[in-house]
Amino acid sequence: MSFPILSYMIFIPFLGIIAVLVLRKEQVQAIRWASALFSFIPLVLSFFLLAHYDSSTSTMQFVEKHTWIPSLGVTYFLGADGLSVPMLFLTALLSFLSVIASFNINFRVKEYFAFFLLLEVGMMGVFAALDFFLFYIFWEVMLVPMYFLIGIWGGPRKEYAAIKFFLYTLFGSVFMLIGILALYFTSQPHTLNMMELISQAPLLAKGFQLIVFVAFFLAFAIKVPIFPFHTWLPDAHVEAPTAVSVILAGILLKMGTYGLLRVSLPMFPKAALYYALPLALLALINIVYGALVCMAQKDLKKMVAYSSVSHMGYCILGISALTVTGVSGCVFQMFSHGLITGALFLLVGVLYDRAHTRDIDAFGGLWAKIPVYTGVMTLFCMGSLGLPGLSGFISEFMVFIGSFPVFKVIVALAVLGVVITAAYFLRMIQKMFLGTFNTKWEALTEISGRELFTVIPLAILMIGVGVYPSPLADMIRATLENIVHLVTG
């Protein structure tokens, strides 16, 4: 494959940054459309990626490899497999839609889009990098634009939320750096090539694996976030502007689970088996605790934020089971949660822009006033609570099926989470959209065409995956079978 498609996907948004910076501050409309264009091209390329991906094999495809820093053993090494292709597509899609959703930003527009495109560069890079040094660079590069996006365009407590996010994630990732160095010096010959490290993994001593696993786990657990490392999430999600919340929930959280699947399982197989039960317990806490906290929320955005904690718990449960079905459920959940929660944050933003409040109790009977909005919102809530026929059901079902043979009691308790999730979403729908119309919202306007445009692709995919999941299942199968095989042998 001579066409370096992955490099284009990573660096076309970077060209977009240059384009945005060249434009004058006053050319707001041009800046917006330039950003839309430069985030649309990677989306087109990602369709190409989906079309040309050969799902019959678990080997890396679209590989690019160049020497970069020979004396440190660093190469520029990109590639994609059944795990990264769906994530690259999701990143391209959500980035493009978020740029469109950000057209209502009127304040420091130029900086906003420059930072946003830099964020896309980092996200694409994480999912495509196969050299640890490169992986770490992209992993960290994202933190800076995220800090600014939350800190400048965020809500009332934006500065606190921004620095908290930055410190938390940096704290996690520096431990990953130690882990990377430890792996580098243990491998023979020394290498940062992730594929090479995976093939050497069986040679690693168990004690070594148990320690280094924890170093990586800290980085990934903070990103997911796994209880008790989740406290940055409600602050960051709630204070961030709408589009940034979408990216946070839709992509950034997935990097944690992606890291677990790409690094933790195949590189530390013995540790993965050893820590499976503690991981499952943490997943259970995430699912049930996250859902219970949602019940108590009055702020709509906060509720959606905590629902992420709960939903990411299913991913972790699927991983901890170490079965093909469980891990596939995890990837389905990563994809599906990206679609659904992305859309939910967009819709919360739509309402907040008009009503300037997110208090669930402040609304009532909105169905009568804004039926289209209500319909779309309800659809995504159903997706989130796992209504059969929508993607959330498939993923949760697969997680439960896959992990039940391994952790019977934990799965039985985790099903509680589904019930609580249904309860808080239905309670929210009832309070906001049903009942008597609160006349205070007489002037509320219906969702606009542009806003609808940002959520419809997500709705189509959510229904598509829910009704006909086999294309996605086929795409990820070979890769995940290989990962599970590497661990359980």
């Binding site: 004396s71 960290e140 800090y147 600014f148 800190g151 930055f166 410190l167 130690i178």
Partner: protein, 477 residues
Amino acid sequence: MYFISIFPEIFLFLWTILIFVVDFFLKEDKRKNLGYLSLLGILITIILLFFSAQGEMFGKAYSYDSLSLFFKLVFLLSAFLAISVSIDFVAKFRAFKGEFFGLILFSTVGMMLLSSARELIFLYVSLELVTIPLYVLAAYLKPDKKSAEAGLKYMLLGAISSAILLYGISLIYGITGTTFLLGIKTRLMVDYLQIGPIGPGLFLSFIFFIAGFGFKLALVPFHMWAPDVYEGAPTPITAFLSVGSKAAGLVAFLRVFFESFSVYNPDWVTIVAVLAALSMIIGNIIALPQTNIKRMLAYSSIAQMGYILVGLVAISERGVSSVAFYTLAYLFANLGAFVVAIAFELQTGSSEIKDYSGLSRTSPTLSFLMMIFLLSLVGIPPLAGFVGKYFLFASAIEKNLIWLVVIAILTSVISLYYYVGVIREMYFHKKEGGEKIFLPFGIKLALIICIIGVLLVGLFPNPFLDLASQAALVFKY
């Protein structure tokens, strides 16, 4: 055709004399041109470095090798940047004399000699040539009380540290009967084989050497002078102190300990490791509450020296090359941050961090550069500081110094908070009536060099890594 090894130093020395002489014949308003003349001299010296033969002189007292080449480039680069930003800064002085530039150059000559010194008396005299001009420069803002205090404090503590170093030298001379580094090494090796473990006299002299160099490097607990001196001195001098003079202390440290004392590595390395840990912890924690950018950078540079020592403690080829490499990465980022602070101070007269608020609105480019420099100091990829820290930590992990690396990375996370504090002021806060910061030519030039350095060393580090790994070949491990 190659010149003799010491030719670059001789040339720069003569050029400095020339500057003093020309100074007499220039009118007050033309004296700024002496700055450009000094820059020209530095450029010629850099070229001469590559046309001078590498080798030993004066019976192995002076050695021009790949290590000294690397550090000579570092010194010349930091002198170049310091003079370049001073050209417009000197207008602040009541009675400006051309000697300001001349003194910086004299100190640079001292640093260059020091990096080649392989004999203790030679080393000591070079070190004095480095610091004595700096005492004068620190007090250059004479009517300003803080500057006078800085000069006096620096001189007193500098004199004490020199005396301690000299004590160490005399002990070593007493024990080994020589002042040549190579001779000391041979003698200590023989002693080690015949007598065995380290004696109290030798141990004491190690401690004196560490304390003496520790003062120059401003390591905790020898750092007390640094913040006051950094705050009081004219800012370009502070910048020069924080990079050039520290790199000079570092190279002297490397020469003495890695060449002469290598037999007793385990005896001194633990002390240095503890000082490194203390410097990282205390430097970073005290930097947190600072409100003045010069003081903040002073404490941060104490911590940065701690990081550099992490590579030194590894005592390996990889370790020494990571020390050299990080020095270069630190040079660009730290001087870059100081250049921005100087530009800001020139116009507003303030170096308080809170006065930076809203700077991104009035001077977007300057704020952006400041952000890059600060993020590089934190070690955020893909900037120079990241590659440097990665390399340092790699060399320490290779030697299983996990505890030191854990301290280093945790304190790096702490450092994020105060570095980003400046970014927060610039980008998140608003200020009424701020105006665009004017950038004179010298400052523009320095900023361009620093930003290119930070990006180049971060993204395409190969040539610099090669230079650094050659520098590390000087020692045997």
